[in-house]
């Protein structure tokens, strides 16, 4: 454990590692600053190009992106009233009013420092929990694991904040897609239509690049113009930025509470940075002596929002590294990167590849420190990227995406799959189907099948194995509670419905 940490710290002096962190930070900040692109697209784009790299170096790049995108996303939220990522929405509530008052720099200072400290808090928590995580793996038998996968699928579906039926449908399609290919469990090929290409199932890299990156580009291209609409950058001076950076410490309790909320919410699959962002902001407002100041350009609002959305990083890495259950799009791409580099999450990672775990932890920390400095120094300049017309950004990203897809396996079918996924993703977005649910269904579907089969093989066909272990029962109760709560919420008449009736 400590040897791996010390080795990781020593490696951080390696020029290749420094370059990887810088690259990850650059990508994370730039894609975070450009509203709508975010970390998922940054990770999808760079992933194929890391093929053949030392996995450690590649993980520093991914960690750099994970740790920085939502920090970068605070910049347009504050300066342009356009959140860079969905997890920066609450930052606009007080950040942009501060900009209109000519205090944009102060808000940037607050956001960058709160983000940095929030991330550091959650990563320290993650590192502290790693020894326990190894024990957790031994507690979780296949039936427990099966229920946890089901819980993750349901949580992601309900957290999609869109039509639940559409979420369930997308998740179901994702599960069905995951069944395509050769099943080593049963030793048979399924739904391959005699195609050699489908032998190993649908490849995750072209699928996520098509779904996330290319379909997003199609949406922007269809809209035209610039990504951030109608905005003028109003920053103030460097003194304001430094003032904001130091002012964070006036809001210690909000900072700590936001960091805790971010870490805990982040560890729940499907919840992610956006939920943490809203929860932290609303809690800060409710517990404030001056709640009326929130939404008018109150620095505490920026601290609450940014500390939580970045603190989700440590939390969300825990189920991904420990069980291979990705809680959001970023983690799906990280899982795809693991597959690409022959890394197996779970016990293998925590026992044999602690160097990878520490690369991710140290990468997030290093990138976050770097980002905080970059944002403090050049936030206003970065925000102007959002004003570049889409017609210049889209072709560049599309070419990069497709060359990247081809580079992984030198297979033209992968490129065609990415384009097909882009078209499907585009129309799914238009129709209001959540893409993330489909992808998580795709990733977890295979796992659910495997754990279900393993359970029955262990019990020699006795289904009671799913209902007799304490961990399984706790997870089942959680599933029933989540389903019940969701049904209650959907059945309960809303204020709007009552008024219309």
């Amino acid at each position: 454990m400590f040897e791996a940490m010390i080795a990781g710290l020593t490696n951080m002096g390696d020029p290749a590692i420094i370059a990887a962190i810088c690259l990850g930070t650059l990508l994370g900040v730039v894609f975070g600053v450009i509203p709508g692109l975010g970390s998922v697209i940054a990770m999808t784009l760079i992933m194929p190009f890391t093929f053949g790299w030392d996995p450690i170096v590649a993980m520093y790049v991914f960690a750099g992106i994970i740790g920085t995108a939502s920090t970068g996303g605070a910049v347009p939220a504050i300066l342009l009233n356009t959140p860079g990522t969905i997890a920066n929405v609450c930052t606009t509530f007080d950040g942009f009013p501060m900009t209109r008052r000519g205090e944009g720099g102060r808000a940037i200072g607050l956001a960058a420092t709160a983000s940095g400290l929030g991330t550091l808090f959650s990563i320290v928590v993650l590192a502290a929990l790693l020894p326990v995580a190894k024990l957790l793996i031994l507690w979780f038998t296949p039936p427990d694991f099966f229920w946890m996968v089901i819980l993750g699928l349901i949580a992601v579906t309900f957290a999609s904040r869109q039509n639940m039926i559409k979420g369930l449908a997308a998740g179901g399609v994702g599960i069905l897609i995951s069944l395509i290919g050769f099943s080593s469990v049963f030793g048979v090929r399924r739904y391959t239509l005699g195609s050699e290409y489908l032998w190993d199932g649908i490849e995750i890299v072209p699928l996520v690049i098509g779904f996330f990156a290319l379909s997003e580009l199609m949406v922007y291209t269809s809209r035209g113009g610039t990504i951030a609409q109608d905005a003028k950058v109003n920053l103030g001076g460097i003194k304001q930025i430094l003032r904001g950076a130091l002012e964070v410490f006036r809001y210690k309790s909000i900072l700590l509470r936001g960091s805790i909320i971010g870490t805990v919410i982040g560890s729940i699959p499907g919840a992610g940075g956006a939920v943490a962002n809203f929860l932290s902001y609303s809690t800060a407002k409710q517990s404030s002596k001056n709640p009326e100041l929130f939404g008018t350009g109150h620095p505490a609002g920026v601290v609450a929002s940014e500390s939580a959305n970045d603190a989700k990083d440590g939390g969300i890495l825990l189920p991904t590294l420990t069980f291979g259950i990705p809680g959001n799009g970023e983690m799906v791409i990280l899982m795809a990167a693991f597959i690409l580099h022959g890394i197996q999450p779970g016990r293998d990672l925590l026992v044999n590849r602690l160097d990878i775990v520490w690369a991710i932890i140290l990468g997030v920390i290093g990138a976050q420190i770097l980002t905080t400095i970059v944002i403090l120094a050049g936030g206003a300049w970065l925000a102007k990227i959002s004003l570049v017309p889409v017609k210049y950004i889209a072709p560049f990203v599309a070419i990069l995406s497709l060359i990247g897809v081809y580079a992984v396996r030198s297979n033209i079918w992968d490129v065609l799959l990415a384009i097909f996924a882009a078209l499907v993703g585009f129309f799914m977005r238009k129709a209001g189907f959540p893409l993330i649910t489909l992808i998580i269904g795709f990733v977890l579907g295979h796992l659910a099948e495997e754990k279900f089969t393993q359970s029955l093989q262990i019990s020699q066909g006795d289904y009671a194995i799913f209902f007799t272990r304490p961990v399984s029962i706790i997870l089942l109760i959680a599933i029933v509670f989540m389903l019940g709560w969701s049904l209650y919420k959907s059945a309960k008449p809303t204020k709007a419905n009552l008024e219309s009736s």
Binding site: P142, V185, Y197, D200, R223, I399, L402, S410, Q454, I458
Partner: protein, 331 residues
């Protein structure tokens, strides 16, 4: 509501087509005179694995020796079958060679034929070998085949699947040792060891190399036997199947082999050149150290010896194929 701007959409589509074309033409070319251009070394697995790393190390050394680039190309798919199919149909000009995981790929071909005749390939030599062994949790009550056989029908093996190498070895072992058993599938790498510790299964099989060897050498696990005639140096206290009275399971016939082949009908002089360069690379101390670092051992064989090994493996797989099929279908 306008769905999207047609003009912009068409532009993006055009860019995608251009990018697709560019992406294809940015990779690969072939030469005319041997060895005047790059030689492609197919690896049927993703980058980063044992065979991939070994291939890259050997290919680099061969590049220096042959004076041309030996380029590793990952053709992952079907557990190595995509690369096997590619090498089988590649021109017999010496510009394509491939490493194969044996006898795994022979078994896969016999179970689900795809037209690849391994006996017909032009074999270059053997790169690596991994000794197979059976292991369990340290606190397991099992120590000998007799104890395992006496346990009744509750013995569960943690295996990767119902068609792989470990399933073949488990099927044959239990048949020969008269052990009643059940497979529990979907276990790879350290997950297998977690399965043993949790009690998902009682026994596991695997190559005694890399992380599996480290686990077996740790206090948490113990190896019960290895599938060899001679004791395995890293596990000197572990008996061989021959010592335990089952010589038919020994002789290294269940070891994981990394064998390298050229397409069928490759001219003898080209095979000879490739084989000489390959063999020279395997004697390089840096190559040996690099392969050992990945938990594998270099084990050189001439083309004719390699061909004999393949013939032997095909024979064993054919002999037990019906047993494997029957066991697989009964689950």
């Amino acid at each position: 509501m306008r769905l999207f701007g047609v003009k912009n959409f068409v532009r993006l589509a055009a860019v995608m087509v251009l990018a697709t074309t560019l992406s294809v033409f940015t990779v690969g070319c072939s030469g005319d005179d041997y060895p005047s251009s790059d030689i492609e070394w197919y690896v049927g697995f993703s980058a980063g694995g044992g065979f991939d790393t070994a291939s890259r190390i050997i290919a680099e050394e061969m590049s220096s020796d042959l004076g041309t680039n030996v380029v590793v190309r990952n053709l992952a798919g079907g557990g190595g079958r995509r690369a096997a199919q590619e090498i089988h149909k590649a021109p017999a000009d010496g510009y394509a060679i491939s490493i194969m995981n044996m006898p795994n790929q022979i078994l896969a071909e016999k179970i689900d034929p795809q037209g690849v005749d391994f006996n017909n390939l032009s074999w270059i030599g053997r790169a690596v070998i991994q000794t197979y062994g059976l292991y369990t949790a340290a606190d397991s009550k099992f120590n000998t085949p007799a104890e395992v056989a006496a346990a009744g029908d509750d013995i569960r093996f943690c295996l990767s699947g119902l068609s792989g190498h470990s399933f073949l070895v488990a099927s044959v072992t239990t048949e020969v040792m008269k052990i009643a058993w059940n497979p529990v599938t979907g276990y790879k790498g350290a997950e297998t060891q977690a399965g043993l510790l949790r009690g998902d299964c009682e026994l596991a099989l695997g190559p005694m190399a890399g992380s599996t060897l480290s686990a077996v050498q740790s206090p948490d696990f113990k190896a019960l036997w290895i599938y060899e005639d001679e004791r395995f140096a890293p596990l000197p206290d572990v008996p061989t199947v021959k010592e335990l009275g089952f010589p038919q399971l020994g002789g290294g016939k269940f070891a994981n082999n990394g064998l390298v082949a050229a397409p069928p009908g490759t001219p003898a002089d080209i095979v000879e050149k490739l084989s000489a360069s390959f063999d020279k690379a395997l004697q390089n101390s840096d190559v040996i150290a690099g392969i050992n670092k990945k938990g594998m051992a270099v084990s050189r064989l001439s083309p004719s010896e390699t061909s004999s090994v393949v013939d032997g493996m095909s024979g064993i797989v054919s002999e037990y194929l019906e047993l494997v099929r029957a066991k697989s279908q009964s689950r």
